[in-house]
Subunit: 196 residues, 2 copies
DNA sequence: GTCTATAGATTGATAGAC
DNA sequence: GTCTATCAATCTATAGAC
């Protein structure tokens, strides 16, 4: 389901996956290190061999999760072809679909990163800005070409990303729409919003 | 700022306002009853005279906050006049502006209500459905009149509410856009998205 | 209604055996 | 690298004085 296979060694991966599940449901502060270690099949002290603190574990999740989300957004921009409308449809569609498919991870990276240390937050903010700038760039190029009519580029980019982010808040595994359904709808809505 | 003046007696109100501030920053589980009582100028035990448990305090915040949000959405539907476009602009615009202006309260009601007991969650869910149904109703009537072209009413209503909800996640008091700016932009984006 | 004091459980993290 | 045992701090909530 979640592609965490590249996290090594295996006990560190099991702890990370257990932490994502727990953080997504109860939040960072609502999850104890015992919860995490227990869900990974370890004793209460087992976590500390692989992560120095609970905060470091959240940071690892946040950083890798944000990097994957950013890479997905960049890949979508390429996949969308040369015209801004196709790019916007792909970016916003894939972004929303990703937040549905990986809703557990997405919940943690979108709603828990403010619990990180100041230093770690600064690293995450850079990754978030990179994603925003991709969307702004597409809206700007579409506007420059006369294909888009947008009231305000920065605010519109933010609003479009917002609807995708919020998918992580409400999406459940038993939801009637597939992640692909959601991606198609959100891509379509984005293109309709900006058409000249 | 926040209109909690009707909460009586005054110590109960001070505790409630202190809890909102703390829950918005650190979350429900990240906030201790000592934090709340201390910020309200009381001893650690002071909270329990006015609220039986910490969960009951969160429920009070969630219920009143949701009722006010729902009443605001209903008022916006009336304020928007008779045509669906005006109604949609008013509802989505006011909804987003409300989440900016009351971003501290909005953060708590949107992101902490899943920490409530099962019984209390059931009460909150009803209020949330009432808001969603207002938006669905406007999209349906606009579609029936031939003024709107919407790919899917339920999914579109959800996506539009999502962008407003997410304002509570990112809005800060020192943000360059005023709540009114945000309301105007989000109302405009909603109308553009559905125009036939 | 607010206080001090405290019960009883749980927390993040460490020490040391194996 | 994982365990058992444990520390010191903190948690929610209560008891009882005023």
């Amino acid at each position: 389901m979640e592609p965490w296979d590249d996290i090594e060694p295996a006990p560190a991966r099991k702890l990370l996956v257990a932490a994502i599940e727990a953080f997504a449901v109860r939040g960072y502060h609502g999850t104890s290190t015992r919860d995490i270690a227990g869900a990974a099949g370890m004793s209460p002290a087992g976590m500390y061999v692989h992560y120095r603190t609970k905060e470091e574990l959240l940071f690892r999740i946040s950083r890798v999760g944000h990097e994957r989300c950013r890479d997905m957004v960049r890949a979508a921009a390429t996949r969308g072809g040369a015209d801004p409308a196709g790019q916007l449809r792909a970016i916003i569609g894939d972004f929303a679909a990703w937040h549905a498919q990986h809703h557990t991870t997405a919940r943690v990276i979108q709603y828990e990163h403010e619990q990180l240390s100041t230093d770690h937050q600064a690293i995450i903010v850079v990754l978030r800005r990179e994603m925003e700038s991709v969307v702004r760039g597409v809206l700007a190029s579409g506007t420059a070409r006369g294909e888009f009519d947008v009231p305000e580029i920065a605010g519109t980019a933010l609003a479009m990303l917002s609807s995708g982010i919020d998918v992580a808040r409400w999406y459940r595994d038993d939801h009637s729409r597939t992640p692909d359904d959601i991606g198609k709808l959100y891509g379509e809505l984005a293109v309709r919003t900006v058409r000249a």
